[in-house]
Amino acid sequence: MDLISLDTLGAAAATLFEPHILLWCLAGVIAGFVFGASPGLTATTGVAIATPLTFGVDFNSAMALLLGIYASGYYAGSIPAILINTPGSPGNAATALPGYRLAQRGMADYAIGLSTVGSSLGGLLSLVVLLFFAPALSTFALKFTSVEYFTLGLFGLMCVAAVSGGSMIKGMIAASFGILLSTVGIDQVDGTTRFAFGFPAMQAGIPLIPALIAFFAIAEILSQIHTNTSNRPLVAQVSFPVAGLVPVFLRNWWVVIQSAAVGTFIGILPGTGPTIASWIAYGMVGKGRRAAAGGDDAAAEHEQDTRHLIATEVSNNAVTGGALVPLLTLGIPGDTVTAVLVGALLIQGIDPGPFFIIQNTDLFVVILGVLLLSAILITVIGLSARRVLPKILAIPYPILTPIVAILCITGVYAVNSSSFDVILAVVMGILGFLLLAFRFPMPPIVIGLVLGPIIETNFRNGLLANGGDISVFATRPISGSLLAILAIILGWQVLRSLRKTS
């Protein structure tokens, strides 16, 4: 893949591989690593904080720094997700499922290897799309009105099936609970305050990152205390050679392509981002051949976790290239980081818009080159840190657990500097612990929370914009096709389960 990019970038390579650009990019990748891996801090925060630092520097250096943070921030959140079941950023929540399972089986080294290589591949593949198809795809985002966003949201809910674990019914209940949580706060359609119970801070709704930390990390910590993990022996971590990763990726090449396509596509759509992309990619891998293999055999489970981890990490990094498409062709950011990048480009005297690629081809190539450079640096840094990081799991639980708890709480506070969020997260964590005790899966709650507003506001906006005519959801081509696919999948599932029971 990268051969094509390298070839095209030949001309710009000379300027790009100047030592100071390399250093800026390295600084960005390292900063992104810290922001991505710290729960509560995200790539968006990192880019926003670094933007004023680019006042005095030239375009190339500024982009090297900011895009380095961007790419590496989307990747690094997978590391705490794998090691301590605490996604560093919302986009890595889906990674926590297969990643933490692998780490608990002593495969943390392997999991981080997968995540590192997967992230780089995702970034590179989306780069190819950006390079060759950006102008062609520029109007693609405009085909999506509220109607299409609604059906896409419904489609996303499908992945609940993949993350429900044992009971589909419990998964659906958990997802509904998540959607219910998402209705808290000021309604985006007509401005009504809902379920705020008199707390001014609740007007903003249930914030995603605190909810994520609560349902994943705090609930997990509480159940560890409940089951008294302090007596549990530590899992011995096995190291895994880098060369061993190659056949794994070759074997799963289709998962890589499919997830990169999902990530890039979601990235192009404004108002979405890595969180949604990674869950959909996870869902699309499905339950795979685990059932077909017939056995409950550990190898099948290992292979399944491998595929899911590749899917989530490839897709969330593929969002980067996708999100730059509408930014550089229309001036409309594709996700929250690119929204901040608009400000950074303005500082450089560039108003991103329809003329950007035509008038500033050289700068466009620089952006592509810097993204390529970031992908390479992520691989190098990730693979070298991979040996050291799993050492965290050698810390006994009575010491590790409180440290993680403190990290979680400070992370929750850091999001909005709000002590109310901390209280909210603790309450949700306790709630999550209770639900966990009744074997309700946590991921559907978070999926409901993410997709709830997309489904609800776009359904209502779609009706408003079309004079209350509900048939638009079926008659608009993209929306209609998505609904048809959805109906076929659901029908097939029902048929299959009927056949199984009879």
Binding site: T145, S146, P333, L346, D351, P354, N416, S417
Partner: protein
């Protein structure tokens, strides 16, 4: 239980920090000042705040720290600022909607007069735009369409100044519009571009590059004069409508802040307003300087509140 104790400790520490006592001041400021921005990092309002914070910090020699407390169209951060002690160590960058419309629409956790004006910083005119292929060519066309079968428009959000002022304009023309939230200015423009709505009504600078590329047509700027970055866009006035609308950001402090503190901030801001540094920083971000001192900004806030009260009551959006 280890965890609970730790959490409680962390909570206590956080609460203690938040409630750090306001010690009697000898010479303001004697400790870092925080500026609350009720929107996320990276927004125009955030950029403005960071420019001002940088210059105030230089002036006073203590850190002026920008803190982003986003949510609910600015209400959450504004409510946070309203709860802070009135000692001048917590300032707020107020925005039109959050400060003067939201408290009229709901129990936001604060009232407009919980704050006193320090300085208006930036003001931006709002403008109407349609997709390049739209049959609507003028404000007249929009009104005609609204009367004949209805028209839809997108703004950054329900209850935003954009939403409120356009609804008022339509009502004054005897027309009614259907509002769709764009969930942000760029989102609203996207809805106009994709043809989902008939037109968008957001801050004029948002349109600049799309208008230049001919993908969008700006057909009415709600200001007295044309704006330089949209040379082809007529004003409402050019088309015979007396209608102006804008959004502004400005610095405010809690009501009850000691007079000497307000006076030293006022003096510093006046000095900053005329500095070349401010001009060059604003130019870099393409912000339009619209500095008004405490008195001037106070009048703007009062006028905006009065107008919103009337319009929101007429629209049935008041609480």
């Amino acid at each position: 239980m280890v965890w609970l104790t730790k959490t409680r400790f962390a909570l206590a520490a956080i609460v203690a920090l938040a409630l750090a006592p306001a010690t009697a001041h000898a010479q303001y400021p004697e400790k870092p000042v925080q500026i609350i921005v009720p929107f996320g990092a990276g927004d125009a309002i955030d950029g403005t705040a960071r420019v001002i914070a940088q210059l105030l910090q230089k002036k006073f020699g203590v850190p002026f720290v920008v803190r982003n407390t986003a949510g609910a169209g600015g209400s959450v951060g504004t409510a946070e600022a309203a709860r802070a002690p009135a000692d001048g160590y917590t300032l707020l960058v107020a925005s039109t909607g959050a400060l003067t419309a939201r408290p009229i629409m709901a129990d936001a956790g604060y009232e407009t007069d919980d704050f006193v004006a320090l300085a208006q910083l930036v003001e931006t005119p709002i403008a109407v735009a349609v997709a390049a292929g739209s049959p609507l060519k003028s404000i007249e066309d929009i009104i005609a369409k609204a009367k004949d079968g209805g028209a839809t428009f997108a703004t950054p959000g329900p209850g935003s100044s954009q939403h409120v002022s356009m609804s008022d304009f339509a009502a004054s023309q005897g027309a009614k519009l259907t509002h769709i939230s764009g969930n942000g200015g760029k989102g609203a423009v996207t809805k106009a571009l994709s043809g989902e709505v008939d037109f968008s009504f957001v801050g004029a600078p948002v349109y600049a590059s799309l208008a230049k590329a001919g993908q969008i047509r700006v057909i009415g700027v709600a200001a007295d004069q044309q704006v330089s970055y949209l040379p082809d866009a007529p004003t409402f006035k050019d088309q015979g409508f007396d209608f102006n609308a804008s959004v502004w950001f400005g610095l405010v402090a809690r009501k009850g802040t000691p007079d000497d503190v307000l006076a030293s901030l006022d003096a510093a801001l006046k000095e900053i307003a005329v500095s070349d540094e401010l001009k060059s920083l604003y130019a870099k971000y393409s912000y339009t300087d619209a500095f008004l001192d405490a008195d001037g900004f106070g009048k703007v806030i009062a006028a905006s509140t009065e107008q919103n009260k009337r319009i929101l009551n007429d629209l049935g959006l008041a609480k």
